[in-house]
Structure formats: C-alpha cells, structure tokens
C-alpha cells in the first residue's frame, strides 16, 4: 500500500501476557519510529530505526519493551508481561532520510487495552 500499515488495529490482552505489534512502513523509507499515545496526550517517542539499526531507544519505558526491524523494512514492537499502564495507542511512523527535515508519515496505530 501507499501508506504506513499497522496491525492489529485493536489488541486486548490480559495483564501479564506478551503482545507483538507490527508496522509496515512506506516502501523506500529508511527511517522508522515508534510512538506511544496515552488518552488525551500527544504521541511520545519510543524508539527509532535507520534501516535495521536501532539508533535510539531512549523512549522505551522499561526493559519489557523491545523493538526490532531485522531486514530494514517491517518492524515489530513487543511488550512482555504487559501492565495496565501499557494501555495506549501505539503509532508507527516512517520518513525518508535523504534530508534531515522531512515530515514523518504515520500509520493509524494499534489500540492496546490491558485488562
């Protein structure tokens, strides 16, 4: 497709379960970002990939959060031993990196609810 695709759109999990969220960036976009958006807040940066390299993971809230992009295209955000405070919308964005000042293009997000 033409845009950033995320799956699943909705995910409900019980506290303590592991979840995996998928992101398909726009073809040819080498930069990929994950954000967490809590209710009533703006997106907050989690981590950044340039191709397959994870160059910044400073926003990951704890070591239960893990992201990968093994072939430089599709990325997966994994959350282990989920907690209720992990409930949020998880957004993926991609951008070209030929120039620094490029807008990021977002997917529609995965809404995660932890019961």
């Amino acid at each position: 497709g033409a845009g950033v695709s995320q799956s699943p759109r909705y995910k409900v999990a019980k506290r303590g379960q592991d979840v995996a969220l998928r992101c398909d960036p726009i073809s040819g976009h080498v930069s990929l970002f994950w954000y967490q958006q809590a209710l009533g807040q703006g997106p907050e940066f989690l981590t950044y990939f340039q191709n397959e390299a994870q160059l910044d993971k400073s926003g990951l809230p704890s070591d239960r959060f893990f992201a990968e992009r093994p072939e430089g295209s599709v990325s997966t955000l994994k959350i282990q031993r989920t907690q209720q405070e992990d409930s949020a919308v998880y957004l993926c964005a991609s951008s070209l990196v030929d120039r620094l000042y490029r807008p990021q293009h977002f997917g529609d997000g995965t809404r995660l609810s932890i019961l």
């Binding site: 950033v4 807040q41 940066f45 000042y101």
Partner: protein, 115 residues
C-alpha cells in the same frame, strides 16, 4: 517536563472564519516545527512545517507563523471549513546530532468548525 505546550484543549469557530491555534515551546534547541492533523481512529497526518530560519510558511488555507524570541508558533486556517474539524498537534524537533528527527509533540487542540 512538557517541552511543547498547547494550552487550549479545544476551539470552536464558525465556518468561513479564521481559526488560530497556538503553541509554545521551551527548548531553544528546537529548529524545525510541524503541525499534524488527526481524525478519530486515524494516525496524525502531516499538515505544514516551518524551519527556524523562516518566520512564516504558507500552504493554501494554512499558514504557520514562528516567533523564535517568544518561542511561540501559531497555525492559521482561513477560511475554516467543517472538514477541518479535528485534533491539531504541534510538534518540534532539533538539536539532535544523530541526523534524524526526534519529534516532541504537544497535547493537541481539538478544533470544531461549526457550519
């Protein structure tokens, strides 16, 4: 520590009138600013941006103004249309020597354009 602030959670404007959305920032290292528009259940969509070397950027009905000394920017929509009703996020990046945009978002302003 909210580095990008949108102090008005909501705004109502009559169709055809001007909408003015405001944003303040505290980090003097920010040098690239963006506005995103978000409809319910969708990801943010890039609207317009401005770099710190400019004080105005215009794209059709949308104009962004930047006042660096006041650390303030605003988005003007003229004329406002019902389809403009959405949540608008102000975002900023800069001061990152890694060659990518680590974007910080505000909390958003919900605009309602009344027909």
């Amino acid at each position: 520590d909210q580095q990008v602030k949108q102090n008005s959670p909501s705004l109502s404007v009559q169709e055809g009138r001007i909408s003015i959305l405001n944003c303040d920032y505290t980090n003097s290292m920010f040098d690239y600013f963006l506005w995103y528009k978000k409809y319910p259940a969708e990801g943010p969509t890039f609207l317009i941006s401005i770099s710190s070397i400019k004080d105005k950027n215009e794209d059709g009905r949308f104009t962004v103004f930047l006042n660096k000394s006041a650390k303030h920017l605003s988005l003007h929509i003229v004329p406002s249309q019902p389809g403009d009703s959405a949540v608008y996020f102000c975002a900023a990046s800069g001061g990152n020597s890694g060659g990518y945009q680590k974007v910080t978002f505000g909390t958003g302003t919900k605009l309602q354009v009344i027909p």
